[in-house]
C-alpha cells in the first residue's frame, strides 16, 4: 500500500486533510460512517475569514448564508460590548452544504470514498498502525494504508484506539443544544450575539447568529458537569424569559433542532503515533473560549495531509517524522490555545457582577485581542474603578501577561 492514506471522517478536518495529501501526491481514501456527509448539523455555523493560516482556506461560496462583521456580547447584567469591522470578517454558513461541498471537492480532486463505513479498530504491524477495520455493509473489512489520519471528530475512536486520548471529564466538554429559527426580528443582522452569565448558560454561553432572511441559529453550550438543568432546558428558559430573546425572537419559529458536544479543554498533548495522526476535533483543536473549530480543523487538516503524504512517500511514517505536523500547527495556534485556556479558567472563576464591571471597561477590540492570546491595555482603567474584585482579576491577568 505504498503512498496510500486513509482519512477517517469526512468533516472539515478530513476533507481538508485529504486535499492536503492529494496535493502532495498521495493516494487517499476517505472513510465515514455517515451515508449523508454534513447531516445532522451540530454547529453554530460561524466561520472567520481572518486568523493565522485561515487566509488560505477556501470557504465554499454556495454555503454562505450571511456575512458578519463582528459580535455583540451581553454580560450577565446585560451590559453590551460591540465589535465590528468595516468589511465582513466572517460568515454564517449552512453546515450541511459546507461539509458536503468540501467533501465533494476532495473526491473531485481524486480521493476515493467509502461512505457508511464505521471504523471499529486499527491494525498494526511491528507497533506501527497500518490500517483500519471498518464495518461496511454489515461486514467487517480491513483497509490497509501507510498512514491513518484520525479526523473522526469529538468522539474520535482513532484517538482512543491509539491511546492519544482517554475519556473526557464532563467539564472538559460543553453540552450543546440549538434551534434553527425562522421569523426572527434581529436587532443586528451582521453581528453575532453572545450572552454570558451563570443564570443563562453556566460555564458557557448562548449564541444568536444571523443567517439572513429572518433566520437565525440560536443555541447554547453549558459545562458538561452542570446538573441543575439540561442544555435544552436552559435554552428554552432563555427564549421564554430573557429580555434579549423577547425583543428579537418572540415570533420566531423553530425549523430545526440540534444537539452537539464540544471539547473546551484545549488540544491533546500528543497527536501523532507511528502510522497515525489526529486532526480537528479528534485532536481537540477547538478554541477553548469561542468553541470555534472549523477554521482550525481546515488549516490543521491541510498541514496534516501534506505531512502525511510526504512521510508516506519517504516511507518513514514514525511518530518522529509525523512530528513535523505537530510542529507546524502548534506554531500557528499553540500559544493562542494555551493562553485562551488560562483565560477561560479565570473567566469561569469570576462572579457575574465582576464580569459586568469588566464589560463596562473593555472594548470589542480588546476582547478580540484577549481571545487571540494577545496582551491588552485595560489595567489602568480597571484600577481606576477601585473595584476590589475587578482589580484582583486584573492582577491575575497580569500574571499571565495578558494585560
Amino acid at each position: 500500500m505504498t503512498n496510500h492514506i486513509i482519512v477517517v471522517g469526512a468533516g472539515p478536518a478530513g476533507s481538508s486533510a485529504a486535499m492536503g495529501a492529494l496535493r502532495a501526491g498521495a493516494k487517499v481514501t476517505i472513510v465515514d460512517r455517515k451515508t449523508n456527509v454534513g447531516i445532522p448539523v451540530q454547529c453554530g455555523e460561524a466561520i472567520g475569514k481572518t486568523g493565522p493560516g485561515v487566509a488560505e482556506i477556501e470557504i465554499p461560496e454556495e454555503s454562505i448564508r450571511a456575512p458578519v462583521r463582528g459580535f455583540r456580547i451581553y454580560s450577565p447584567g446585560q451590559v453590551s460590548v460591540d465589535y465590528a469591522t468595516k468589511e465582513p470578517s466572517g460568515f454564517i454558513i449552512d453546515r450541511r452544504v459546507f461539509d458536503k461541498e468540501l467533501f465533494a471537492r476532495a473526491t473531485e480532486a481524486g480521493a476515493d470514498s467509502l461512505l457508511g463505513a464505521r471504523v471499529l479498530d486499527v491494525t498494526r504491524s511491528n507497533g506501527t498502525i497500518d490500517g483500519a477495520v471498518v464495518r461496511y455493509n454489515g461486514q467487517r473489512q480491513t483497509l490497509k494504508a501507510q498512514i491513518v489520519i484520525g479526523a473522526d471528530g469529538v468522539n474520535s475512536q482513532i484517538a482512543r484506539l491509539t491511546g492519544l486520548r482517554k475519556a473526557y471529564k464532563p467539564d472538559d466538554i460543553d453540552s450543546c443544544f440549538a434551534y434553527e429559527m425562522a421569523n426572527c426580528n434581529l436587532e443586528v443582522t451582521d453581528l453575532m450575539e453572545f450572552l454570558l452569565g451563570s443564570e443563562v448558560s453556566p460555564r458557557g454561553y448562548i449564541w444568536i447568529f444571523p443567517k439572513g432572511n429572518g433566520r437565525a441559529n440560536v443555541g447554547i453550550g453549558i459545562g458538561g458537569g452542570i446538573e441543575t438543568k439540561t442544555a435544552k432546558e436552559y435554552l428554552d428558559h432563555f427564549l421564554k424569559n430573557h429580555d434579549v430573546a423577547k425583543r428579537q425572537l418572540n415570533d420566531a419559529k423553530v425549523i430545526e433542532t440540534r444537539v452537539g458536544a464540544l471539547p473546551v479543554c484545549g488540544p491533546n498533548k500528543v497527536n501523532v503515533v507511528n502510522g497515525a495522526l489526529l486532526v480537528g476535533d479528534a485532536a481537540g483543536q477547538i478554541h477553548p473560549i469561542t468553541g470555534g473549530g472549523m477554521g482550525y480543523a481546515m488549516v490543521c487538516g491541510s498541514i496534516a495531509g501534506r505531512v502525511a503524504a510526504e512521510s508516506a512517500q519517504k516511507e518513514t511514517v514514525t511518530a518522529t517524522n509525523l512530528q513535523q505536523y505537530e510542529k507546524e500547527w502548534r506554531k500557528l495556534y499553540g500559544a493562542e490555545f494555551d493562553q485562551s485556556l488560562r483565560l477561560r479558567e479565570l473567566i469561569l472563576q469570576t462572579e457575574d457582577a465582576t464580569l459586568d464591571k469588566l464589560a463596562n471597561i473593555v472594548t470589542g477590540e480588546s476582547i478580540v485581542q484577549l481571545t487571540a492570546g494577545k496582551k491588552v491595555k485595560i489595567f489602568m482603567k480597571a484600577m481606576s474603578t477601585g473595584d476590589r474584585k475587578l482589580i484582583t482579576l486584573m492582577q491575575e491577568l497580569r500574571k499571565l501577561r495578558m494585560v
Binding site: 455517515k34 468522539n155 464532563p170 443544544f177
Partner: protein, 73 residues
C-alpha cells in the same frame, strides 16, 4: 437482583445506562465521557453495550436533552 459478573470476572454495578432513542440526537456527548467506551455511535443512533457499561452515570450528566437515564439491570 444480585450484581452480575462480566466475562472478565469483575463485579459490576446493578445499574445500566439506557437511552431514549426518540429524544437522542446523536451528539455523542455521552460517548466522549464514558470511561469504558461502552457507547457505540452509528450514523443515526447510539447503542449502550450492556456488557461494558458499569452504571457509573457520567453519561447522564452531559446529555443536552436528558435522553439517558440509569435503570436497574
Amino acid at each position: 437482583m444480585p450484581p452480575t459478573t462480566s466475562t472478565s470476572g469483575k463485579k459490576r454495578d446493578k445499574k445500566l445506562a439506557d437511552v431514549d432513542g426518540e429524544l437522542c440526537g446523536v451528539c455523542q456527548a455521552c460517548a466522549t465521557v464514558c470511561p469504558v467506551n461502552a457507547i457505540e455511535v452509528t450514523e443515526s443512533y447510539i447503542k449502550i453495550l450492556p456488557e461494558k457499561c458499569t452504571g457509573c452515570g457520567v453519561c447522564v450528566k452531559v446529555c443536552p436533552v436528558g435522553a439517558i437515564v440509569l435503570i436497574d439491570r
